[in-house]
Amino acid sequence: MSAWLPIATIAQKVQAGELKASELVEQALQAIASKAQFQAIIVSLDDAAHERAKDIDARIARGENVGRLAGVPFIAKDNFLVFGAETTAASNILKGFTAPYQSTVINKLEAEGAICVAKANLDAFAHGSSTENSDFFTTKNPHDETRVPGGSSGGSAAAVVLELTPFALGSDTGGSIRLPASFCGAVGYKPTYGLVSRSGVVAMASSTDTIGPLARTVDDAALVLDVIAGKDALDSTTIDRDAVSYTDLLGDVKGKKIGVIKEYMGEGLDQGVKACIEAAIEKLKAAGAEITEVSLPSLSAALAVYYIICPAEVSSNLARYDGQRFGFTSSDAESLDESYSKSRAVGFGKEAKRRIMIGTYVLSSGYYDAYYKKAQTVRTKIINEFEAIFAKVDFLLGPVAPMTAFKIGENVDDPLQMYLTDIMTVAVNMVGIPAVSIPAGVSDGLPVGLQLMAAQKADRALLGLAKASEELLV
C-alpha cells in the first residue's frame, strides 16, 4: 500500500482536521531517516518543518483556510533557495551557503500550505545524468542500489519513488526531470519554458532552464504545477499561465493525433525499452488515438547544439562564483586574480570545470561564430521542424532515454558517453516545449519512462494526455 494519499486528498483531510500537518512532517522525516542508505537527501530541515507544521495545525484549529496543499510535505532539489537553509547545489563551492531569501516557487508552495522537509541530492549545479557529479555522494536507484537514479534531479526522483514525500521539485535544463523520472519510475513534468519562475533557483543554462514537479501520479504533478505556474516580476522570462486550472484535465486519448518520433525509435535503442514503448503505442491505439510515425531530420544535431549552448551559458552563469561575495574562498592567494582562480579551482568539481572550459572556448574570440552562433542557428532549424510537425499532430511520443538506469561508475570516465544519455531529452529544451515522463513498464526489473511532448503553452492538454495514458499503462 502506498505511504501517501493523493496530494489533494491529504490537503483536504488536513484542512478538515482529520490529519495533522505535524504528523505528516514526522512521517516524512522518519521515512527520510529509514531510507538514508539511498542517499537521496543532502539535508533535512527538521526544525523549520516542524515549526511550520505546528503553525498550520494551529491555523486550522482557529478555523483558517490554509490552502490547496495544506500540510503536504515536499522535498526540493538542493538548487532551490529555501530561506534560512543551506543551499549547496551539491557543490563544494556553495557548501555552508545559507539562503538569505527564497525561490518564488517555494513561496508559492508555502502560501498554499506545503512544507519543505528536505533538500535532495543532484549532480553539482545540475550538470549530469546520474548524480555521480554531486560533489558529496551518489544517490542510489530505489530499484537497484548498484545503479544510478538518473540526473540531475536524481535525489528528487528517488525521494518520490521511495515515498519520502508525495512530491519533490526538480529542474530540467536538458532532461534533468524526465531522465531520473524514467530511471526511477516517477512522473516527471517539464513545463513550457517560462511557465514557472526560476527566481531563487541556482542558474545553469538560462535559455533552457525550467522548474517542475516529480510525483507519483499525473494528478499530483498537475496540482503542483497549478500552484507554481505563472508570471513573476522576479523572472523576466516568465509567461502568462492558462486561465483554466492545470488540474482541469480532459483525460481522453480518443481521436488525439500522436506522432511517434522515428529518430528516437531506431538504432541504439535498448530492446527492452523499445518493447515497453511499442506496447504503450498499441494501448494508445486501442484506446482510439490516431498514431502516425513522424520524422524530425535535424534531431540528430540536437545533442551537439545542446552541448555548445549549455556550456556557454554555464560558463557565464558560473562566473559569479568568484570566492569574494559568497561561497568557498581560497586562503592561499596574494592577489584578487589569484584568489579567483584558486577559489574556483578548489570549489568547482570536475564536470563544472569541464563545462566552464568548453563554454569559454565556444564563446571565445575567433570561435564564437563557428560554434555558438552556428549552434543557435541550428537551434532555429530544430524549432522550425517541431513547429511544422505540431501543425499536423497534437502530441509527440518517444522514449525518455535509449536505456534504463545504468550501473554506478559505468560512464564516469567518458564524459561524451554520459552526455549521450540526454540524446532524447535535449531537443525539448532547445525548442522550449513541455514534456513529461510517465512510467511505461519495466525492462529487466528496471523502470522505463514514456516521453510525451506538446507544443509550447499546451501544458494542460499534455497533462490530460499523460493522465489518460497513465490509466492505460497501469
Binding site: R325, A333, K353, R354, L416
Partner: protein
C-alpha cells in the same frame, strides 16, 4: 580545429579564472578535443537563410516601472555569506600591483 594544444588549454583556463594542475590540463586537452570533435558534425547542417535563436517564447525587452521594491532583506543578513567583511564592506585582495 578541434585539436587543442596545451597552450590553448592554459589560455582557456586563464580566461575562465581556473587554476589547473598539470594532470587536469592533460585531461581537459583530451576530453575537450573529443567533445569539440563531436559537436563538429554541426558543420554538415545546412542553415542557409536561418537566423540564430536565443529566446524561444518570443519575449523581447521585458521591463518594469523604475520603482524601488522593498523585499524586506536586511543588508547585514545578505553579508552573512561573505567570506571577509570589514566595516560592512566586502574585503578583497589587492587588485593593482
Amino acid at each position: 580545429m578541434a585539436d587543442l594544444t596545451t597552450d590553448d588549454v592554459l589560455k582557456l583556463a586563464t580566461l575562465a579564472r581556473l587554476q589547473l594542475s598539470d594532470d587536469e590540463v592533460a585531461e581537459y586537452q583530451r576530453e575537450l578535443g573529443a567533445i569539440l570533435k563531436y559537436v563538429e558534425h554541426l558543420d554538415d547542417v545546412d542553415v542557409s537563410g536561418l537566423e540564430p535563436t536565443s529566446q524561444v517564447t518570443g519575449l523581447t525587452n521585458v521591463s518594469r516601472a523604475d520603482e524601488i521594491i522593498d523585499y524586506g532583506y536586511e543588508p547585514l543578513d545578505l553579508l552573512k555569506n561573505v567570506p571577509a567583511v570589514e566595516k560592512n564592506l566586502i574585503k578583497v585582495k589587492r587588485m593593482i600591483g
